[in-house]
Structures are given as C-alpha cells and as structure tokens.
Symmetry: C2
Subunit: 288 residues, 2 copies
C-alpha cells in the first residue's frame, strides 16, 4: 500500500470494462474517485480513503465539457495527466480512466438528466445547466466503473447533495462517501483553481473561510440568520477585493430554507477574487 | 425447467436487493423482464427467453403511475397478481418483484430523466411525458435488479428504441434483448388491453396488421412512402370503425425520416378501436 502498485492508465471504455468485469468476477469491491484532474491534496485524500475502504480504486480524470457554461473556463481548465499519474500512483490508485471527450460522448440521442430545484440555487443560480452536466457524467461513470462506493469532496457541497439525491431517487447500487474539505495552513480551501490567484489575491483569500466561521458562531449563539450572513459578507468585503456571488445558510442536504426543525446546516459561499471564482462551505449541526 | 421452482414474490426493495446481491456474489447472470402485469403470452415469451439466456430471471410487475397521463387508464389498468404469479411460475421465473407505488417513489428530489426528440413522435406525440416516465422506472429497475440482460417486446417499438438509446448514451452495464411480437391466430398483436375490446371490435382489429403488411409490400416494390401509408390507412378505415392516431414509416432505431441510406425500417401505427388504443408495428429491412 502506498508504494507503486503497477497502476494502469486506460483511455477507452472497452479497456476499463475489461478491468472492472475482472475485478467484479473476483467479488472484490471497487471505489471510484471521479475527478477533473490537476490533482491536489483534496483529490489524493479521496483516493486514500477509497484505498482503505475498497479492494480496488478507480480514479477518473475527465474535464467534462457538458458541465461548463459557454463563458466558463473549459478550454483553460488546467490539465497535466503526467503529473496526475505520478500523484495517483503515489497513493495507490489501481487504475486511472482518462477518456477523450469523443470516447465519453460518441452519440447523442437527446436523452438528458435534469437536476431539479436543488440546482437552481447557490452555484446553480449562476451556472444554468451545470448540475445537469454533472449528473450526466456521474451517471455514466457510475455505470462504467460499477463502484461499490464513490468518493466526493465536501467542498462541492451542493454537488454532493444533488448526487446523493440522484443515487437515492434512482436507486444506483452504490454508496456515496464524502470527505471533509482539505485546507491550506491559513484556512483557504484547496482547489485546482487556486493556481489562477495572483500573490495579492492569494493573501486575501483566507478571509472567505474566516467569514464562514464567524457566521457559524454568530448563528449558533443567536439563531439569527440575517445577522450571521451580514457579518460574513462584511468580513469578506473588508478583507478582500472580491465580489460575493452568494453567501447562504440552508438546510442540508435538502438545500431548503432553514426552519425550527432543521438539524444540519450548510453555510456556503462563492466569491470572485479577481477573475477566479472560489467556493467554500461549512456543514454543521445545532447539536454542538 | 418449466416446472415449479420455488418462485419467490417480493414487494420491497430490501428483499429484492438481498436476492440480487446473493445471485451476483455467485457470479450468476440475471435476466430482467419488466412488466405492468396482467401477463399474456407476449410477457411469457420474454420470460422464457430470459430463462434460456440467464441463470436467474427477475420479473417486475409494477403499474408505473409516472408513465400514465392524467386522462389515461392508470386506475382502470387491469391487475391480477395472483394469476400473474401462477403464469410466471409456470415458465420458470425465479423471483417476482411487485412493489407498491410508495416503495418505488418514496422521495422526490426533483431530478428527472427526459426522453428527447425520439419521444416527440409516434405514441409520444399524443402522450407527453409518457417516455420520461418509462425511462424513470426503467432506470430504477435496472439499478435495482442489476440485470445482465433486460427483455422488452418489439411490440412497443418506440419504447425499445428509446430504452436502447438510454442504455447506449448512459453506459448502463447490460444488454437490451427484444423478442418479436406475439400474435393471435388472426394476426392481432397480443396486448393486455385487448380485454377491453367488444366482440365486434375484436373482429375488426386484425385489419391493423393486414394494413401494415400491405404497406410494407407496396413500399418494398415501389419505395413510395406516401402511397404505402395511404394504402394502409385506407384499409384500416374501410375494415374497422377505428380512428387512426398515427401510421408512419421511419428509420429504425433512430426514428428519423427515411433516406436513401436507411437500411432498417419501422412501420408503426396506433389505432383507437372504440375507446381502446391498439398499437402494432413491423420492422423490416430492404435487404429482403
């Protein structure tokens, strides 16, 4: 474990299915770690967790065009398969599935999966169709890798909530596992997009997580949603040159307005620092 | 084979998953025969085919509300689980999965599967949302029964074409198998809905298949689409008191307009005889 284990890199569905069918025939469990590559510690934590919990770990590396909007960064999204391969091998991934766009989308009969009301808020409000694209590629990857467990970072809290709903309402035969946000020492959530930040922007960025922590504390002592949100907004506006896209407190995982019944809370934000959109969140309960 | 084999009838997802997981662990193949019950010879042929091709056969019996329109016959659709159980047992089905509506749809997070352009013609033109509902229940059943092969009757040609597209474009790990239309001695395609026909209507109904055969012969000798269609329409109008909903000649399985490139043809019709809507089709090639 940990050392090189003859990791394979495959690019075709046929190659992946041959491996998956062989593993399934042996009655072994499969962990799937779907990524868009340019791996950081967050991804490697997902893979390490899968390693511990499953006999065999598949990591997909695919920058999925259908989840990018027309004005988003599909073309400039960072890619480095050689580096990713070494990193994945170092944590014991058994196979990397790195298909081309043509391999994943050779045909289009017009059938689509539509994420519903959960996708119309938070990140979804400014990214119409994004979560439809996420569900499309996730459903395909689930069918291709046939995992026992699939691993997602809690950083994309809305994504996790929507994928959990897909698995539940469409009875996918697998379990979604989430791992906590991995942070830099100063609190900034790790992200592939952090490489876009200028030095100055990078120094301001930790204020995002500070703001979320302040809002959580205020909410838990006062139960006053608007005040908690305002406190966090002010902190971000004072400490950064960023523009807040949203900063919201919702029930989790329903992503609905909180009521006196709500037990789990999601405090989530997206902030443009320069041209870079950073997201962060805290999930917490009122049970202390 | 054929004799009683201790068929089980289960109504909960948990019971089905226990059986499926056990069969999969043994490395055995599973055939799934999705039905809405009130079994006739067509269904039994699907089950018998599954029996031959797989180690274990699951038949689902579920009248799926999400594929019925508001003015359709969901409430009056015939149901007889006791009779179905005996018939399924007689052809060697291993387990019947007969869930309640609540068991199949306990939650609704708002995610949907939308059948696209293939669903806007033929039966879909007069049944908005019908194929969305079909894909919803079929995706759920595929995930629940995890079949190696799933069996559908060619009678529902549009349904088969759309489900084939779902499996192809979303990489479901299974094969769709179709079996030919089973007919009465006078040519009428067997259907659960035939029990609705009055004696007079029943005597007229074979004209539908006669019309399709006439159109095929005319098309293959003349390659004149409009003439072939008109010939069939005239036959139905002269021989029955029915009203033609549609009668079309399309490419198969794309369900697009035929061109000089088309090799496989679908000649499909839906006719209201009295209040009963009957469908029939012929799939044929120009290779004789």
């Amino acid at each position: 474990m940990g050392a090189s284990n003859n990791m394979q890199v495959v690019t075709t569905i046929e190659q992946l299915k041959t491996i998956v069918n062989d593993i399934k025939r042996q009655g072994k469990t499969i962990g799937l770690v779907p990524t868009m590559g340019y791996l950081h510690e967050g991804h490697l934590t997902l893979a390490s967790t899968s390693k511990v919990e499953n006999d065999f770990t598949v990591m997909s590396i695919f920058v999925n065009p259908t989840q990018f909007g027309p004005n988003e960064d599909f073309d400039s999204y960072p890619r480095d398969l050689e580096r990713d391969t070494k990193l994945a091998d170092s944590v014991g991934v058994d196979v990397i599935f790195a298909p081309s766009v043509e391999e994943m989308y050779p045909t289009n009969g017009g059938i689509s999966i539509r994420a519903g009301r959960q996708s119309e808020i938070l990140c979804g409000a400014s990214r119409p169709g994004h979560f439809d694209g996420v569900l499309q590629v996730v459903a395909k990857l689930f069918h291709l890798a046939e995992p026992t467990r699939a691993y997602f970072g809690q950083k994309d809290a809305q994504q996790v909530a929507i994928i959990q709903t897909l698995v539940r309402d469409f009875n996918f035969p697998l379990t979604i596992r989430t791992v906590p946000i991995v942070r830099e020492e100063d609190g900034l959530a790790k992200s592939s997009r952090n490489v876009y930040l200028s030095e100055e922007d990078r120094q301001q960025a930790p204020a995002i997580y500070e703001a979320l922590q302040m809002a959580r504390e205020h909410f838990l002592s006062s139960f006053h949603v608007e005040e908690a949100i305002e406190l966090a907004q002010n902190h971000i506006n004072q400490k950064t040159s960023g523009r807040i896209d949203y900063l919201q407190l919702l029930s989790y995982p329903d992503l609905a307005e909180i009521t006196t019944e709500t037990e789990q809370f999601l405090l989530a934000t997206a902030v443009y620092i320069g041209k870079t959109r950073l997201i962060d969140n805290i999930i917490f309960s009122n049970k202390g």
